[in-house]
Point group: C2
Chain length 220, copies 2
């Protein structure tokens, strides 16, 4: 399902170069549940953005669902993304003027899905936010915004869910409920990749990889 | 130093009312290190914003450094805040077009401090970001942004540091380094209040309180 080879992503800052990804290869089979760990700044979000078709590598290849997406034009990249992937951003990236319900509905409306409002309500209920659906992001707590971002990522029932630190703002009980949701989605056959700093969460994943300075250093 | 009595903060949402704080009282002596825990949505950030002079309660009183700040006009509230408090926001709230160095310098410039650039560099070095000082927020990882927010809160050497979930985006090693910084500042006599979901962090604080549904339910 996912086959990334020798991904490189660098940023030029004046005269210095930041090697955010320095040749990362990763293969993930359908239905796997994988944790990505590593120090702050080690390249995890950069890798997730490439896997999520939100960014392109400078070099290397990335096959998603059998297609080489590393060189697709933006509109086709977006189409791959909408069709296959649900993404939970580390900084949530909710749309400020829309309510939680409207935020979660949006990917369904893009995909032309029916019963969008009903599905969005169900997704918000699954993350415990039934009584917050009309709040806008600035009327929500940090953990509530994080849970809206999670609901938005799962509402399209995607084949691949990429969650970048989905429990950083949640107490342990709410965090466990989120991992329960991901585990159930994985049991349905979906591929789940979670970036996390928390060992408890990583241990729920059958497989774990470690990034350091833009490289993969360990696999278990 | 800090004496809050019966703080109430409610939000009207159409016909319903959200009681974010439902009568919270809290006394913190100079030089204490306190952890505030509680479920997502229990009122922690709301309480911190009132303690940090960033918001006013609907009712109740709040004495900071001997003055009743609960009814001060905005400019005097800002002046109390700049003089006494360093605040680490749950969502960082960095200024997008400024570099990390400029972001951390800003509170010093407002206070008319000398050697602002030098102090800002030292604060960024203490959180391990010496090689990222010219990056803007969107050129930083989530954990790097969080550390810039921490550096900004400590650079003015305030009497009171309020940190709202300061390690949520950090790996355990970086998180420990942050707690070490707070512990050292506390040893210098500064008052530290940390909102956290992580028991390891809460246990570094001599005193812990628990919020639930806008009320204080436990104290240890
Ligand atoms: N502007 C607002 N309008 C309406 N409701 C609000 C507003 N701001 C906050 N709330 C609600 O008040 C409650 C308390 O919010 P607060 O941000 O203090 O929670 P918290 O304890 O910090 O949660 P978390 O751990 O998720 O950060 C939440 O349920 C939230 O939905
Ligand atoms: N646009 C950019 N320009 C320059 N440097 C960047 C840019 N974006 C990211 N970086 C740098 O690339 C490195 C990797 O960033 P990335 O966001 O992938 O880290 P991360 O592993 O997700 O960290 P965290 O755990 O803190 O979220 C960081 O050191 C960051 O400073
Ligand atoms: Mg990241
Ligand atoms: Mg909060």
């Amino acid at each position: 399902m996912i086959k990334a080879e020798a991904l490189v992503k660098t940023y030029k800052m004046g005269r210095s170069i930041v090697r955010a990804l320095d040749g990362v290869s990763l293969e993930v089979r359908d239905g796997e549940m994988l944790a990505i760990m590593g120090p702050s700044g080690s390249g995890k979000s950069t890798l997730m953005h490439i896997l999520g078709c939100l960014d392109r590598p400078d070099s290397g290849t990335y096959f998603l669902a059998g297609r080489d997406v590393s060189r697709l034009p933006s509109n086709q990249l977006a189409e791959m993304r909408n069709r296959h992937i649900g993404f939970v951003f580390q900084t949530f990236n909710l749309i400020p003027r829309l309510s939680a319900l409207e935020n979660v509905e949006l990917p369904l409306l893009y995909g032309g899905a029916r019963r969008a409002k009903e599905k969005a309500k169900a997704a918000l209920a699954s993350v415990g936010l039934s009584d917050r659906i009309h709040h806008e992001p600035n009327q929500l707590s940090g953990g509530e915004r994080q849970r809206v971002a999670i609901a938005r990522a799962i509402v399209t029932e995607p084949a691949v869910i990429l969650a970048d630190e989905p429990t950083g703002n949640l107490d342990s009980k709410a965090g466990e409920e989120i991992i329960k949701i991901f585990t159930e989605l994985n049991a349905q056959g979906r591929t789940i990749i979670i970036v996390t700093h928390e060992p408890d969460i990583a241990s729920c994943c059958k497989r774990q990889i470690l990034l350091k300075d833009g490289r993969k250093v360990k696999e278990s």
